[in-house]
């Protein structure tokens, strides 16, 4: 995972891009990100506060299925408001109850103690308790990072591109069957698609679930069941199988916390996807995204960004620069959240209209540009979807060329195209056929990218340069008007999202004078690995 793509078994073909221009676009992205960071640092959200509770050890649900973390935060919101954060009040409540976090949360839920009973607790004791809880929280994140490291020592990661397969039955136990079969056919990464519209739920469902639509609910119990399965298969197959879920929507940071408890490897986590494609309020998204990424940096979870979505809604040639711009902004924001380059699964996709002459050359140019702009990051490459046909044989051909582009340009996280994409969620044998295609192409063209050169002023080099030029112009505009304003004006994906529109704005608040988030502070202070440096 640490390797530089240029160093793996020889130098890859590359397009001569100007280093100065690359520095310029990265600087622009940094400026854009830092403008937003100023806003983020003085705000928090109801979901961030619930995440703190989860990391302090609050788990479980009440009789009607509402998570205790929601109950406790709502209780404080009703009594004292949230402006000064949950941490101080909850720490004080723990001192009153004399119990651990879970017991204290239950006492609050049962109304045995309330946030009105904490007046007698001294500031000093609260400070001490908060420190202790933050340390506990970071020990949880560190524990996950270390457990994964141990597993990786036993079962090495397979060679790249990693074959990323999706399961989406709605039923965790069926998902397990499908995942097992996919790994046996060669999958390296299993992603569990979430139930339709889970991103719009302002809580995390609880327990093992069998009733999702178009996917399976992301719950901590479902995470555990899938991870246990994949651990078992990793052992059998002698290679480490990575597991993916989604930290997007209204519970970004909370899902991330649950993912660290269960040792997930990768989370879908884009800085703008929810705003644009799920109409989630942008303030809420940026705030939640920051904390979720800080947690990922400490627990060593790779994030995957969602640039492929720009190309499913607008033209993949005309709007290629929006992908590059979004990658750069995602990278800059991720670095502001302490994520290291090897954890940035920046996204893009093979979505050009196959009727376009030389479409494959455009695809190679775009893929190569992503590869070269982020040489140390595990780029995530999405397969054709928009022009997939119900003629499954034709669709299988599209995937073949996608697979060839991927291995040739050294992509790292390869989302498998499925021949029945335009028809249904994959059947067992759809994945088998898709993997057969991938295994064939990856094997027969393994070193093609090290063998060829791109013509200096050829079509591919000129195309990549043009996209980079357009990206630079676009980023200058965004930097001038500010990211939030740009999104409001519809500069990304032609979708306008006003600053005060979308879901979840009512859960955003400005931090009060007494506000604390000791977990956030400690991660920022200690950095991504803490003292042990592992």
């Amino acid at each position: 995972m640490d390797g530089h793509y240029l160093e793996k078994g020889g130098k890859m073909a590359h397009i001569p891009l100007k280093q100065k221009q690359i520095s310029r676009v990265k600087n622009l992205a940094r400026k854009i990100s830092s403008q937003v960071q100023g806003f983020i640092s003085i705000h928090s959200s109801i979901s961030v506060e619930r995440t703190i509770l989860r990391l302090y050890g609050v788990d479980g649900v009440d009789n009607s299925g509402v998570p205790l973390s929601n109950r406790v935060v709502n209780s404080l919101l009703e009594r004292r408001g949230l402006n000064n954060g949950i941490s101080r009040f909850f720490s004080a409540a723990m001192l009153v109850s004399g119990r651990d976090a879970q017991e204290t949360a239950q006492s609050i839920e049962r109304r045995e103690i309330s946030f009105d009973d904490i007046a007698g607790i001294s500031q000093e004791d609260v400070d001490k308790k908060e420190k202790e809880l933050a340390k506990r929280a970071l020990a949880v994140l560190d524990g996950s990072r270390k457990r994964k490291k141990k597993k990786l020592e036993r079962y090495p990661l397979p060679s790249q591109p990693w074959r990323y397969l999706i399961v989406a039955t709605g039923n965790i136990y069926e998902d397990v069957t499908q995942a097992t079969s996919a790994v046996h056919s060669g999958a390296d990464i299993i992603a569990q698609i979430r139930s339709t519209a889970q991103s719009l739920l302002d809580y995390i469902p609880y327990g093992p679930t069998t009733d999702g639509f178009g996917g399976t609910f992301a719950t901590q119990a479902n995470f555990r069941i899938m991870r246990e399965t994949l651990d078992k298969i990793s052992e059998e197959e002698g290679r480490y199988i990575q597991m993916v879920n989604y930290a997007s929507g209204l519970c970004m940071a909370e899902i991330t916390a649950c993912a660290t408890f269960e040792d997930l490897d990768i989370l879908l986590n884009d800085c703008m996807y929810g705003i644009l494609f799920r109409d989630i309020n942008m303030k809420r998204t940026f705030i939640d995204q920051y904390f979720s990424r800080l947690i990922c940096s400490r627990a060593k979870i790779i994030i995957n960004t969602g640039e492929d979505n720009y190309l499913t809604t607008s033209d993949a040639i005309e709007n290629a620069y929006t992908v590059t711009a979004s990658q750069l902004i995602n990278e800059a924001m991720a670095k502001d959240s302490l994520l290291s380059e090897d954890l940035l699964g920046l996204g893009h996709a093979f979505e050009i209209d196959p009727h376009v002459e030389n479409a494959f050359l455009y695809e190679l140019a775009h893929a190569q540009l992503s590869r070269q702009l982020f040489p140390k990051s595990p780029i995530k490459y999405m397969p054709p979807t928009k022009y997939k046909s119900t003629d499954i044989f034709y669709s299988h051909c599209l995937d073949t060329l996608f697979n060839l582009a991927s291995v040739t340009t050294g992509q790292e996280i390869h989302l498998s195209g499925i021949l029945t994409e335009a028809i249904h969620n994959p059947f067992l044998h759809d994945r088998y056929l898709a993997l057969g295609n991938i295994n064939y192409v990856f094997n027969v063209a393994r070193d093609l990218g090290r063998e060829i050169e791109f013509k200096k002023d050829g079509f591919i080099a000129r195309r990549a340069q043009k996209v980079l030029d357009e990206t630079e112009v676009f980023l200058k505009d965004i930097e001038g008007e500010g990211l939030m304003e740009a999104i409001a004006k519809g500069r990304f994906a032609n979708i306008k999202r006003p600053l005060k529109g979308g879901k979840g704005l009512d859960g955003v608040f400005e931090k009060g004078p007494e506000y604390t988030n000791p977990v956030m502070d400690l991660i920022v202070r200690e950095g991504r690995t803490g003292e042990d440096g592992l």
């Binding site: 709605g170 097992t180 079969s181 790994v183 046996h184 056919s185 339709t196 519209a197 991103s199 719009l200 639509f213 178009g214 799920r278 109409d279 499913t312 809604t313 607008s314 033209d315 119900t390 335009a422 028809i423 059947f427 067992l428 044998h429 088998y432 056929l433 057969g436």
Partner: protein
């Protein structure tokens, strides 16, 4: 009565050649291949040839089978439930609205219920359109509002009234456990309850939607997979002209 009996064609008329592939939940073996062959025979296929058997994983085997199909069908007796209107192109549609109707058509569209997919409604409504066919937003003679996904029936009806819509387009992509039927029915019931059903042309679309299904639920039409925006626009124009006696 004239008859036209047909069956699948491979390389000779009436050879009945079909190819199929499927998975059986058993380990790949000679016995498994025999099971696949016998199973195909049970489907009333002849000359069954299991040409490929591959292990997917423990206890799952994938088969490719060639065989001859036995039955014929009388093509003369086949009728389609698809929407039948003459499909016009972008220019003819705009021209027809301008000349014959002499006012803009107003259309509101949404994906209703818990379905978060906008791909269907976007294909029909977005400027860009689908498969080289412009979306309704691009038609100068059509006023549109695409409300996106997860829209409640109540807010959809409210917007349709506000826009004095001629037509409501509903998209559903997710069809797991028949939720699309529930949501589509809910809208019709709500419109009927408010005595609004006849005010709007009501059109459903999505990969799991057929015209028969939609009209059975009380819609004016249903459009399935691969529908282009101009097909929908042609239907709307034709029906609105009929409704207003201006054909």
């Amino acid at each position: 009565m004239k008859q036209e009996l047909i069956k699948p064609y491979g390389d000779t008329l009436n050879d009945g050649a079909v190819q199929l592939s499927f998975t059986l939940p058993i380990e790949n073996s000679a016995r498994a291949r025999k099971a696949a062959e016998l199973y195909a025979s049970k489907l009333n296929l002849e000359n069954v040839s299991v040409v490929h058997a591959g292990k997917i994983s423990d206890n799952f085997t994938f088969f490719v089978v060639y065989a001859s199909a036995v039955p014929t069908i009388d093509y003369e007796s086949v009728e389609t439930g698809e929407v039948e209107v003459r499909v016009m192109d972008f220019y003819e549609i705009n021209n027809t609205i301008e000349k014959k109707l002499n006012r803009l058509i107003s259309v509101v569209g949404a994906t209703i219920g818990n379905d978060a997919h906008t791909v269907g409604i976007d294909a029909i409504m977005n400027m860009k359109g689908y498969n080289q066919d412009y979306g309704l937003e691009r038609y100068p003679q059509i006023k549109t509002c695409n409300m996106g996904a997860q829209v409640s029936c109540e807010s959809l009806i409210e917007r349709a009234l506000q826009m004095k819509a001629d037509a409501i387009l509903i998209s559903r992509t997710v069809t797991q456990r028949e939720t699309h039927i529930r949501n589509l029915t809910e809208l019709v019931e709500l419109l009927k309850a408010q005595d609004l059903r006849d005010r709007f042309l009501l059109v459903a679309g999505g990969p799991g939607i057929t015209n028969d299904l939609a009209t059975g639920l009380g819609y004016d039409a249903g459009f399935g997979r691969g529908t282009r925006p101009s097909q929908v626009a042609s239907f709307l124009v034709t029906k609105i002209l009929e409704k207003e006696g201006k054909t």
